[in-house]
Amino acid sequence: MADTAVHADDHVDHGAHHTSTGLSNNKLAMWMFLGSECLLFGGLISTYMLYRGRHSANLGPDQVWDIPFTSASSFVLLMSSLTMVLAVSSANRDDDRNTKLWLSVTALLGALFVAGQVYEFTTFYREGLGFTTSLFSSSFFTLTGFHGVHVSVGIIMLMSLVGMISKNKVVGDKKEVVELFGLYWHFVDVVWILIFTLVYLIPA
């Protein structure tokens, strides 16, 4: 395993020359997966848009949103995209130390966002907006919950990657692995921009 890095480079070389398009298989697969994810969030967002107005008088979007708070946590998530870019850039320079650093910061910012979401959900619940309260609440918690799960999975993967880099156990091309994680992470961020706009900012 100690010589994975050497072979990893070898592998990239192979990969680039030996696919019909010159694109790496892994990267193409990740793009396909993200394309599929678009339809997943598309379905969830459509459901929310259909049901956003269906709630009792005092527990609708306009009553429960705390826009400044959610704006702050959205900002945190968007900044994590920046740190992810720094991680990819460090990986491209074969700078393991900074790659690990920026991956960890990305995970931390992601965790901060999820913590914000947990806080937000708890507040809503205290105010009487449970998962089963109304069509609005069911579709809201489902949509943002799915997004939160995506971020959480991303955090676990980022931390695992940091561990794997430390132990030199990354299978395949390290630069590409970091880049693939980046693609996933940016996608989750972009989805949040959509959700934040459609769910929070546009008045119901």
Binding site: H18, L28, M32, Y51
Partner: protein, 668 residues
């Protein structure tokens, strides 16, 4: 090749050694990495696309028999007035599970079987892009299918129809766990389809042999790729719907509770946005198979290859814009109805283009009516009947009359049985010698074919009449006093349909007899090129070696194999093909120039373990959330095991199986 993960040689050494001697890469503590090439372990942990293809096929045939028995019970119940074979409740379960089984556990995986086995062979690759994900897909499908069917023993199957309209599928109307099993089972097989789709798309786009441009791609591979794109974008939509159904039933969400203000059309839209592309997912692989078979037995190239490719892609695109024709009777409003009506008529055009092209492929050809050819011609005729009744549904006023009658049942059985299933049987007869090295018996095959054709027309033909007379679908009994008079007496035609089912079953039984007869001891080995075939999968042995091709073929033509056997000596736009080489000679040439280094991926435990965690989690959702947690832990362990399993190994460890040349392959 990027797919290469492990050399078989090095792992072999590990296998024979005691665990303490195992290197860290190839063992997990006391466990050794699986390396068997024979025996049950070689199947359980395999990542070879050919073995997985065969397993897909075997399991799909098993579910075909299960679904067939369900169908026969339905027809027994309806054979006479006031049927008593099934109770109303059991009848509901039977038609729901029949459809679900046939669609998700037979036709889709059977197409996946051919796609897995033949796409890498047709594009000159040694495996798919992600062999472990491929293995995971198969096991997820198998476990999902078994999970779904365990509902029979745990309180009864799902009973809401394969479309499972909400709110009719809520706990109030369907109190057993059947719908839960249905939803979770389809989630699991859906994951299998999604991973398979990503895998095959990347394979076709990235792993083609040198020289094989997209417009030289064998037509079956093309149609498979279109289907994988449909799956890629259709599966997440049904995933959303199924999640909401699960939240509704297991966690009291209100997505479909009309009293709480829910829109009953939400489920219908989500389901049919998935459900209509699903129809093309079922039928396009068979179109691909038919398009492979017709040229071979007409001794002509496929007429209008680019048109068939583009019309296949067009069907894929337009297939996304017609879903609401399943909902004409739900009160969508005149504008929606008109738009979807026109779109539905439009989709008949690319389909018609294909039928015309197939007919013109045969026109003027030296046609040989072998069994695969019979089935292929059967597809053209039977599918056209189903396609035409489909166009009658696109006319919304007429559809309103036909909605929920047996006329619809007649239509989609002509399309799915006549189009998809006959095509799959054509593929089995055509590719059997390639997969198993034995020919299926032609005489038995002919009887098999005619019984199937007569059986299907007896079964589904009368349903047009029954339906237009107004017999509703999904009614568990009909009564004599409302059966009508004379030619249109639905009692008579119901009986005919029920008899037809048994003729059909006899036909399918003969297929199994044929397999037995053809594989008895002493039957001859199949010739190398029994059909004088045209595409790349025939430039290898029967069955193919583990590494598929000794040398990755260089492709210069569409129908590469044909052009290696025949030379065009015509002039001035007039073609005159003369045989210049036999298949044996073509193959010998390849063997002589075999690649020195062939890297094959090694088996793995993780795909099957990860797939196994899925039904555990699903049982957890229904029965006990701790079980869900246990399944999740297993999934996590599998993820890490998978992620840490090495991809590549040092060059010197690779096994040169052919051993004739030390030259490193250009594609190797």
């Amino acid at each position: 090749m990027a797919i290469i993960e492990r050399p078989s040689d090095e792992v072999e050494v590990v296998d024979q050694s005691t665990p303490s001697e195992a290197t860290p890469e190839s063992s997990y503590g006391v466990f050794r990495r699986p390396v068997e090439t024979t025996g049950w372990k070689s199947w359980l942990f395999t990542i070879d696309h050919k073995k997985l293809g065969i397993m897909y096929g075997v399991v799909a045939m098993f579910f075909f028999v299960v679904g067939g028995i369900e169908a026969m019970l339905i027809r027994l119940q309806l054979a006479g007035p006031n049927g008593t074979v099934l109770s109303a409740d059991k009848y509901n379960q039977m038609f729901t599970m029949h459809a679900t089984t046939m669609v998700f556990l037979f036709v889709m995986p059977m197409a996946a079987a051919f796609a897995n086995y033949f796409v890498p062979l047709q594009i000159g690759a040694r495996d798919v892009a992600f062999p472990r994900i491929n293995a995971f897909g198969f096991w997820a499908f198998l476990f999902g299918g078994l999970f779904l069917n365990t509902s029979w023993f745990l309180g009864g199957g799902a009973d809401g129809g394969w479309f499972m309209y909400a709110p009719n599928s809520s706990v109030a109307f369907s109190p057993s766990n059947g719908v839960d099993f249905w939803g979770l089972g389809l989630q699991i097989t859906g994951i299998a389809s999604l991973t398979g789709a990503i895998n095959l798309i990347v394979t076709v786009i990235n792993m083609r042999a040198p020289g094989m441009s997209l417009m030289k791609l064998p037509i079956f591979t093309w149609m498979v790729m279109v289907v994988q794109f449909l799956l890629l974008f259709a599966m997440p939509v049904i995933t959303v719907a199924l999640f909401m159904l699960m939240f509704q039933r297991s966690f009291d969400a209100t997505f479909f509770t009309v009293e709480a203000g829910a829109d009953p059309l939400l489920w219908q839209h989500l389901f049919w946005i998935f459900g209509h592309p699903e129809v093309y997912i079922l039928v396009l692989p068979s179109f691909g198979i038919v398009s492979e078979i017709l040229p071979v037995f007409s001794k002509k190239p496929l007429f209008g290859y680019p048109l068939i490719v583009f019309s296949g892609a067009a069907i894929g695109f337009v297939g996304w814009g017609v879903w609401a024709h399943h909902m004409f009777a739900s009160g969508l409003g005149p504008i929606s109805v008109a738009a979807f009506s026109v779109a539905t008529m439009a989709i008949a055009i690319p389909t018609g283009v294909k039928i015309v092209n197939w007919t013109l492929t045969m026109w003027g050809g030296k046609i040989k009516f072998t069994v695969p050819m019979l089935y292929a011609v059967g597809v053209i005729i039977q599918f056209t009947i189903g396609g035409l009744s489909g166009v009658t549904h696109s006319v919304a006023p007429s559809d309103t009359q036909q909605t929920d009658t047996y006329y619809i049942v007649a239509h989609f059985h002509y399309v799915i049985f006549g189009g998809a299933v006959l095509g799959l049987f054509a593929g089995m007869y055509y590719w059997w010698p390639k997969m198993f090295g034995k020919m299926l018996n032609e005489r038995l095959g002919r009887v098999n074919f005619w019984l199937t054709i007569i059986g299907m027309n007896l079964t589904f033909g009368p349903m047009h009449i029954i339906g237009l007379q107004g017999q509703p679908r999904r009614m568990y009994q009909w009564t004599e006093n409302r059966a009508g008079e004379g030619f249109f007496n639905i009692g008579f035609w119901n009986l005919v349909a029920s008899i037809g089912t048994f003729v059909l079953a006899l036909g399918v039984l003969l297929f199994f007899v044929n397999i037995y007869v053809s594989h008895r001891k002493g039957t001859e080995k199949a010739p190398l090129d029994p059909w004088d075939a045209r595409s790349l999968e025939w430039i290898t042995t029967n069955p193919p070696k583990e590494h598929n091709f000794d040398r990755v073929p260089q492709v210069g033509h569409l129908d590469e194999f044909f052009h290696r056997k025949y030379e065009d000596r015509g002039a001035d736009g007039h073609h005159e093909f003369h045989q210049v080489a036999t298949a044996e000679e073509v193959l010998a040439e390849e063997e002589k120039n075999a690649d020195g280094h062939i890297h094959l991926p090694s088996p793995s435990y993780w795909p099957i373990l990860l797939a196994f965690s899925l039904p555990i989690m699903a049982y957890g959702v229904i029965y006990n959330l701790f079980l869900l947690l246990g399944g999740a832990v297993l999934a996590l362990v599998s993820f890490y095991g998978w992620g840490l399993e090495p991809h590549t190994a040092p060059e010197e460890d690779y096994d040169p199986p052919t051993g004739t040349s030390m030259e490193v392959a250009s594609h190797g």
